[in-house]
Point group: C2
Chain length 440, copies 2
């Protein structure tokens, strides 16, 4: 059973020998050209191929090759960037400069997307000068340990894909490829990771090299000590939600192994009648706050969207509305914060609590201000007309006073639209699938 | 100004000399007859006149006279009751037996209601055998200290009447007559009680004799040590609400002395159009649970009604409804628990939280039971149809499972009716006034 599933999955995700050969040849060719050009320009550097394509843990269909250009540690930042880009550009005319922590070149060559990243060639990972300097160490570590387990990594990666927990970006907050590799190195096989994963819980520590730094406090749900850096948690980006979704998936797979865990059936998003039906069954109100997506990378956008979501939910609850669930969405053009409201409309009256009578001065001032104040236990209270009797008017009036994150706030200040019910389906493509997953 | 108000109040509440003379003559006559009859029957007892009519602190219109029959402490309980009742009955043929802690006679004579209460003639209050044995000591204490301040007590009593805080029974939980007398004894005059009262707060201790027992912990809002019993708090029945209503009234009177504090304008209860108007303005829903009033004294009934009120409110909140205010009502025939609902209807869907995934066995059982369970943070959850989507159906179904108090529960088990909105006005007379005060 399991054997059969393994085979069927690998049949689909393992690169063909031809694929692999072609990719490796391309990488070697680029490295050769860069090294030659470096020598020509008088640099003593040797480009290296890193990432999953270098360690044979990539999934079929992957078209990115990561090439790092390690400069001596005493190279100035400016020099590194300048020289790095100069070398990188020779790969192809079809390229663009991009920025992560520092600039790199993304070039199209031979049908592959080649990322050419200048970095520092530090002697050990404790002396990295930029986050990318760590990658060559990760590469070396995995290459030295992964022998014979590459297919296990592929199964693991496809499993996290299929169960929706793959991706360490701040959009997903799930499992990175490197984390998948480390789990296989630690437990030896895909099925052993599943067995162990079924028992994972908050606070589990995986320290393959047994070298964790006890002075560093890790508060993240799962702690996987980086074999090349005792202070670093490789699973730092993993959210509690994704950890337990993984645990749930492992248990399910353990109990009933099924190929669907790797390749879930594609589901269609809600169309209008389906959404209306779902809302009618649930009796809730769907409210979306939508605005132009700020022009920032997802790793900056999603934390801001979640911050906005959180403050809007808090504002709702402070005004006695109730939010059943919420989520954030963006397609690069429009962004949205979507709330499923349990209570979105309230009676006109509101009890406004005043000071304790024991604080006589405050109490007297309150009663002067509100002659209708009455004694309510040990304090004054007064019944006032509620300022916001429905959730939409609260949003319209007070949204921009919420903590929203810089660029999200700027975009919302320019313009936002509040939509309810099936009107939300018009925000952009893919919103129907998002709403389907939000409503369960 | 104050002088004028004092005068006008006393003009109305001080018994006329003729009233006083007639009442005292009646009391003396009864005592004479009882003492004679006692001698005839071979008892060595002397009846005593106690209460406000005995200490000249009564308000005009009062028609009750309290006569106590103190028996030697070694009299058996049966003897005391038997002999007491035998003596008491000679006052009038028009009498009935009543029960407080033990039986007493309430007789109509000369247009007065005479309460004839057998008690034990104990040497000091620390040796009382029944709560009523304390009354003769209270009587003696007040009589020895109240000289020249009787009108101050009358002002005080009328003030607590007018401001709605008079009455130490469990229905009102306010100020007793004896408490009013002690406050006057402590502060010397009505206006001084007002001044001090304006500064009262939870935990204030008034210990006229400076003899409080520090080993007895008093948790009540106001502590007035009984001058005849260092362990007893005379204000034990006073609720926090009534304490602060009194404080509020004192402050208001201090700032703007007005005769209305003693004689508030009579207000009419809500009629149907007024109630509908008020509910329309507030946007809330009024719900009444009504049932046959149990045949028990108010001091037993009201605590049970409040207990029922509290558990019904708690049940509402547990099911995610929200109660804005509530109250209890009884006219002796019907009783009612009335709720003003802020949220009385909820969407069909409800999130049912399951165990943390960390508790694997529980978690697995939950998921088997609810295949639609999903990961919600560190635990499972499942969306289920809400069992009670409106408050009325919750009451209908679950009322009898609430903690209601013995006789209230018995009555509700026999039958109860749930009314909403203006239908509640039909429960009984006086309900309109109650609803008016409930809705502020």
């Amino acid at each position: 059973m399991i054997e059969d599933i393994r085979k069927r999955v690998l049949d689909q995700v393992k690169p063909t020998p031809a694929d692999a050969k072609r990719l490796m040849a391309t990488a070697m060719e680029i490295i050769g050209r860069i090294d030659a050009e470096a020598t020509r320009q008088g640099f003593d550097i040797h480009a290296i191929h890193v990432g999953s394509t270098a360690r044979d843990t990539w999934l079929r269909g992957k078209r990115d090759i990561d090439i790092f250009l390690p400069f001596p540690p005493d190279t100035s930042r400016e020099q590194l960037e300048l020289a790095g880009l100069k070398l990188a550009r020779i790969v192809s005319d079809d390229y663009e400069e991009r920025y992560a922590e520092h600039p790199y070149i993304s070039a199209i060559y031979n049908g592959y997307e080649i990322d050419l990243v200048p970095c520092y060639d530090v002697p050990d990972p404790s002396r990295i000068q930029s986050a990318v300097d760590r990658s060559p160490f990760h590469n070396r570590y995995v290459q030295s340990r992964i022998n014979g387990m590459c297919d296990e990594v592929r199964l693991m990666k496809q499993f996290t894909h299929g169960t929706g927990v793959y991706g360490s970006e701040l959009r997903t907050m799930g499992f990175s490829g490197y984390l998948c590799e480390l789990l296989i190195i630690r437990y030896g096989s895909f099925i052993d990771v599943i067995r162990q994963g079924a028992g994972f819980h908050k606070g589990v520590i995986i320290d393959i090299e047994g070298h964790m730094n006890r002075e560093v406090e890790h508060l993240e749900p799962l702690i996987v000590i980086d074999p090349v850096d005792p202070k670093r948690n490789v699973a730092a980006a993993l959210s509690e939600q994704k950890l337990y979704e993984f645990v749930d998936a492992c248990r399910q797979f353990e109990e009933r192994p099924a190929i669907e865990a790797f390749f879930p059936p594609e589901t269609e998003g809600f169309d209008e009648p389906q959404l209306l039906q779902a809302l009618d069954n649930r009796g809730t109100l769907l409210v979306a706050i939508t605005f132009k997506a700020p022009d920032i990378v997802e790793d900056t956008l999603y934390p801001q969207l979640r911050k906005a979501e959180e403050s809007i939910v808090r504002m709702m609850e402070q005004h006695e509305f109730r939010v059943f669930g919420s989520g954030v969405w963006s397609d690069g053009k429009r962004s949205a914060i979507v709330l499923e409201m349990l209570i979105w409309s309230l009676p006109q009256i509101e009890r406004h609590l005043g000071p304790p009578l024991e604080q006589r001065e405050h109490a007297t001032r309150f009663k002067e201000k509100y002659p209708a104040a009455y004694v309510y236990g040990y304090r004054y209270a007064v019944d006032l007309p509620r300022k916001y009797a429905d959730a939409a008017s609260l949003i319209q009036d007070r949204l921009i006073s919420c903590a929203l994150g810089k660029q999200v706030s700027e975009s919302i200040r320019q313009d936002f639209i509040v939509l309810t019910g099936s009107g939300i389906l018009n925000i952009g493509e893919g919103i129907g699938a998002f709403l389907k997953s939000l409503l369960g």
